[in-house]
Amino acid sequence: MSGQAFWFLSRATGVVSVVLLTVVVCLGMVTAGRRRPHGESATVVMGVHRWLSLGMLVFLAVHIVTAIVDGYVPIGWLAVVLPFSSPYQTLLVGLGTVAVDLLVVLMVTSYLRHRIPERRWRIIHWTSYAMWLAALAHGFAMGTSDQPGLRLTTIACGTVGGLFVAWRLVASHADRERRQEINAQEWT
């Protein structure tokens, strides 16, 4: 494969990764914020949230490996884990690295969820919003201007995700409200 093919492959898998990541984040918000009970879809949403996050890793791995192997720009293997160590586009590649590091933390803590206090797991899982924003910024700034489709895809992901965040902020918390009601009752 020529170097150019790697470069195209890297951009293609990068944009697929950001789309899949947005879907996973949105499904997580749906699970966290929906009024209950609500039938079969909760199981589907939870299953897709869980397994699509793993499926996204394939695209992300190809995105990272091809960008480095391509060699047209110097990035270096260290930049996979150490943010802001890439000679090429230090800040923008670094945002992608930050997202990868946060993703590793999220994956490991979710895999070990049964061994982590629920409150701590929840706080750690909230960093997925930061991870998603870092990935979006990385994708937006590096989706080069001669390919408006890539940049438009990132903008669309940001818009859809933003709408979900807005919905999540106003979504009711059926369980929490019920617990507060019960707490307010007088014990007899």
């Binding site: 699970t31 966290a32 209950r36 009970p37 609500h38 039938g39 079969e40 909760a42 199981t43 939870m46 299953g47 869980r50 969820r113 049964h114 629920e118 059926a174 369980d175 019920r178």
Partner: protein, 65 residues
């Protein structure tokens, strides 16, 4: 496929937030009350179905005894 051994399930009532996923993944063994919280009809379920249900519980309130 060999029939899987059985497992015993239980719900942590403090963690449960009533998503209703367990009633979907373990039909028959778990039903929901009128507020959407699980009622365990049968503690003993096939182990593979139980482990899937435990993995998919969004509040990780379902566990194996």
């Amino acid at each position: 496929m060999p029939s899987s051994p059985d497992a015993r399930i239980a719900v942590d009532r403090v963690l449960c937030t009533g998503h209703g996923v367990c009633a979907q993944t373990l039909p028959g063994a778990v039903t929901l009350d009128e507020w959407g919280y699980p009622i365990i009809r049968s503690e003993t379920v096939p182990a593979d179905a139980a482990s899937l249900a435990v993995k998919l519980c969004p509040a990780r309130a379902l566990y194996l005894r």
